[in-house]
């Protein structure tokens, strides 16, 4: 019971301080779920994000559900998902009554200009952590480069990149084993 509460509180905190999409959540999950609570490892996070990318739905919700499941099964995933959704829900609902005024508040604009820079820094650190846990070698570097370039050039192809990279992983593993024999 205590653990479920911890999961809810951690993900509530994560949801409340994620600005701008699922990726921005990764550094917070790393801090809360890996470093602080040790529910999962950095390797698990890489697995979880890979799966979150290759399944339908927002990455943020997918990752939260998965980490919650790892931490405490089905109830854990329910607490994590509820926790991560609630701050958004409450804030937006409250804002929907004063939406036009909110956009004009100068301090909010300024704060967000700063927050974007902070998010960028957090993402760079998350990228470094993920890079160190990712497989290395020529095949892995090709996948990193190609997936980066393709998604930078074309929009709406993430799912094809994901499928392609999974197939590429399977094929290159087979080839390397055959060579090793």
């Amino acid at each position: 019971m205590k653990k479920l509460w911890q999961i809810f509180v951690s993900f509530f905190r994560i949801g409340a301080f994620t600005f701008g999409g699922g990726y921005a959540m990764i550094p917070l999950i790393q801090h809360e779920a890996v470093e602080k609570r040790k529910w999962v490892t950095d390797e698990d996070i890489l697995d979880i994000v890979a799966i979150a990318e290759s399944t339908p739905g927002p990455i943020a919700i997918n990752s939260a559900t998965f980490v919650g499941y790892r931490a405490a099964g089905v109830l854990g995933s329910a607490c994590a998902t509820l926790g991560v959704v609630l701050p958004s829900f409450v804030v937006i609902l409250a804002l929907s009554f004063v939406l036009s005024q909110f956009q004009d508040v100068q301090a909010v604009q300024y704060a967000f200009n700063g927050i974007r820079v902070g998010v960028l820094a957090l993402l760079v650190k998350a990228l470094w952590t993920m890079y160190t846990k990712s497989p290395k070698g020529w095949a892995a570097y090709v996948v990193m480069g190609v997936s980066f370039l393709l998604t930078a050039i074309f929009s709406d192809i993430v799912i094809y990149v994901i499928i392609g990279c999974a197939v590429f992983g399977i094929v290159t593993s087979r080839i390397m084993e055959r060579r090793a024999q």
């Binding site: 927002p58 559900t65 959704v85 704060a111 974007r116 990149v161």
Partner: protein
């Protein structure tokens, strides 16, 4: 009826979109124009995207809650607004939740199977590439919001952003709590904003 439609529409959007909130945006735009075009004109939705960037929480949830509140609010007062938000948000969350529960169960059983391991050997570096691309997007937004030009290097905003970035990146690697970093950078944004430098 409006509430069932909200739930089902967002449930469908949740099922068919891959790759995060922004991939969902176009789908939401289409469906909103089709179903609630009179209530939520295109400009309102675009404005809300901007608001959603400066409010906490996953983008997809923010969008669903917003559309739900407008469509629900059209049915009546405060209670209807809340109910509308609730239906839309539940709709967008539920597919993810169910799919991940199933996948997590299967994955825990098959994670040591050869096929899954090999596929993961391609997926893990792909995630690194995709995250790098997401960072590129934020990088452009922060340093060259109006597109690249040499005159960028003469603006104070560029150097202030660079300074905040340098400090926060060092703190991030020193494992300072991300929430503290977010708060610090917000304060820096406000301070430099009122000074007219950012």
């Amino acid at each position: 009826m409006a509430f069932v439609e909200l739930f089902l529409t967002f449930f469908m959007i949740g099922i068919v979109t891959f790759g995060g909130g922004y991939a969902m945006l176009r789908m939401i735009q289409e469906q909103v124009a089709l179903r609630w075009g009179e209530l939520i004109p295109v400009e309102s939705l675009t404005n809300f995207v901007a608001v959603s960037e400066s409010t906490p929480g996953p983008f997809a949830i923010n969008m669903a809650t917003y559309v739900g509140s407008v469509v629900g609010g059209d049915q009546g007062g405060f209670g209807m607004t809340v109910l509308g938000s609730f239906c839309a948000t539940m709709g967008v969350v539920l597919p993810s939740f169910i799919v991940i529960l199933i996948v997590a169960k299967i994955y825990d059983r098959f994670r040591s199977s050869k096929l899954v391991k090999d596929a993961m050997s391609g997926l893990k570096p792909a995630v690194v590439g995709l995250l790098a691309n997401a960072i590129l997007g934020v990088l452009v937004e922060v340093f060259a919001p109006a597109g690249f030009a040499w005159s960028l290097f003469t603006t104070s905003a560029f150097y202030i952003s660079l300074g905040i970035f340098a400090v926060t990146v060092v703190l991030a690697f020193k494992k300072v709590h991300p929430i503290i970093l977010i708060c610090l950078s917000a304060v820096a944004g406000i301070a430099f904003g009122y000074l007219g430098w950012l």
